[in-house]
Each structure stands twice: as structure tokens, then as C-alpha cells.
Amino acid sequence: MRVSVVGGAGYVGGELVRYLLGHPGLELAQVTSSSLPGRPVTMVHPNLRGFTSMRFVAPDQLRPCDAVVVAGGEGPAQVPSLSELRAVAPLVVDCGPRLRLRDPDAFRAWYRSEPEPPEVLREAVYGLPELGRAEILGSSLVSGVGCSAAAAILALLPVARAGWKLTAPACVEARFGSSAAGSRPDLSTHHPERSGALRVFAPDHHRHAAEVAQALGWEASRLSYAGMGVEMVRGISVSIRCFLADPVPEKDLWDAFRSTYRDEPFVRVVAQRAGLHRHPDPRWLAGTNLCDVGFWLDRSGLRLSLFAALDNLGKGSAGNAVQALNCALGMDERLGLTFMGLHPL
């Protein structure tokens, strides 16, 4: 199986290349870049030196292959259209936002740009395997996930499936490492502006709320969703405060998380009573496709805090895209994704 990466010069693209070079069942065919055609891939991804001598090709040089994965990081003008991509490969996995929301009006409202045609959005499958791997299997058009959205969905999913009622919107606070802003610099990512700062860039209504609401079958108004930039390069940490209408015993909470994630290879329940690392922390997940989820319930059983952590370039984008690709192709989802992370780091 030959897979090409479209838009490989950015951070997500670099991670896609890294994962695919280590994948035992897939062969990396081409890596495109509209800004660096002809240049070695290792010029912008120095960690890959010695593992590939591949050079970037221009997007119009993309040759037929079995699948393309779109990193989606170079802006709409540089990303080939879906019809162009589907002409070269029977399977497209797109890490960008254009396939994530089913409702064109929602896409227009949250992304302030024109959506793909409704029939394309209806055909596309949301690419979070934990939510619906049966739907992904055999699909030809698979979306990526928003990095903090994936974390929030995985934290909330056991609660949503249990059907526990909340008395107020779930308050999501998502903290973002700088690489989530992409590889193109602007003032907000300039070192003197960002270093040491804890900048709230979305006090509420972060656009990932739409994706989380869609995934859980909720109205977006059931979420308050804030985003803050923190002093990390990689990593998303999500805390979600929920106020339950009726008390829930902690053992039922454990049951809900165990039953949701017992067989999931990339989601770990971390809600420990002892030790230093009791709750999810993105630092120990850098470079992995893991998402750690956890919770804390106060003695009344009414106030529930949920936590999730992941690498925004791993389970939050490129790693998840490779997992979804494995899933769509009917392969073992774990292939190419077995890195366990580092500690200390």
C-alpha cells in the first residue's frame, strides 16, 4: 500500500512522514509541499535525517497511489481540492477542518469560510476511531480531528454514553502547546509574545466546541469552551467541569470509563489515588498516539471534573490520522503507532 502526504512541510506533515516511515504495512510514496518543492524533507524535519532521502514535490506532481493523507496546514489556497485528491487516490484522510462538521451552516458559522458541498460532507466519516471505527472501515473520505476536540470528546464520551444529565453547560478549558498554532509564524507565536505567557486566546466559543457537540450528539450550547496558549511545544491538556443533576457513585463512573475504553489501544484511564502522576499530563505523551483520560468526583457525587491529555501532533492530528488510515484499510489500528513516550523529558 503506497501512501502520500500532502502538505508535508508543516508540523503535522512532519509527524505523518515520521509515522509512515515507521509503518510496517505502508510505504511512503510522495510528500508534497507548495512552498518547498525539490527540497529535502529533512531540511525542515531534522529528526528524520538518515531515515529518508525523499524530496518534497509540488502538489501538481502527485502521482496515483492507494491513499493520501492531507496535513492541512498550509492554508486553503495551498491545499488541493478534494476532487483533485480523489483523482489520485481512492482513499483520502484529511487532517484539516473541512470534513469535520456535517452541517454546512455550522461550518460556515464556526470557521467563517465556505464549506464543502453537502453531498461531500454527508459522505465523509468523522475520523476518530473510538467514536465509530465501523463507519471508518472501507470509507473513502475520512476527516481528521481537532486536537483539543479529540481530547474533550474522549473525556466526555463515557459521561455522554451513560446519559447523566448536567445542570449547566460543561465548561471545557483547553490548554494548547505552541505547535498547535502550526509552523507559520505570526505575532501570537513570536517568542517575546508567547514565551512565559498564559494567553487566553478564546475566552469561550472555541471552534472545537462544534466538533465535540456533533460527536456527542449535543447542542453546542451545552458546552462552554475556552482556549489558552501555555508554555509547551507539544501537548493539549483539557479540564472539563460538569455539574450533575443527580449524584453519581464513583464506582459507576469507573464502570463508565472502563466499559468505554477497556478495548481501546490508545486511550488509558488515568485517575489514580497514589503517586505523583495521578491525572493526565501531556508531557509524557509527546510523540505518541495516546490519549489519557481521567476524572475526579467530589463527595456529593454532583461535581465532576474530567481531564484529558494528548500530543496535538499525535492523537490530536497525525497519529490519529494514521490510526484512522489503518482502520479504513482494515489493518491493525496499532501499526506504526507503538511509541510509548518518554519519561523524564
Binding site: E250, W254, V269, R273, A274
Partner: protein, 62 residues
Amino acid sequence: MSDDLNPQAGECPECAAVFVLPTGTVVGEILPCPDCAAELEVVALDPPRLALAPEIEEDWGE
């Protein structure tokens, strides 16, 4: 189940995880829960009964 495990299982009083006590477990021994990592004291063996052992709390900022 491996041969070196006691087939009798205990339940964590914190998270309800059910797990098999290792062979040779004695009353008073402290075992970590495999799910929530709570430190559990073995208070009885036949049948196995586990209780939460006193834990050291973090007190940053207090």
C-alpha cells in the same frame, strides 16, 4: 490465569476493580489497585477483603 496467582479475587473499595491477589499474600499487606493505584490493605483473606490504606496527600499551596 497464571499458576502463581491465588484464584481468589478482591475488590477495590475505591473504584470497584476486581483483581486476583498474588500467591502468598498475607493479612496486613499493602497492595496497589491496578486501576486507580489506591494503596489497599489486605484485612482478610478468606474471602479476600481490602480496605483503603492511609494515603499521603499533596498539599501544594495550602
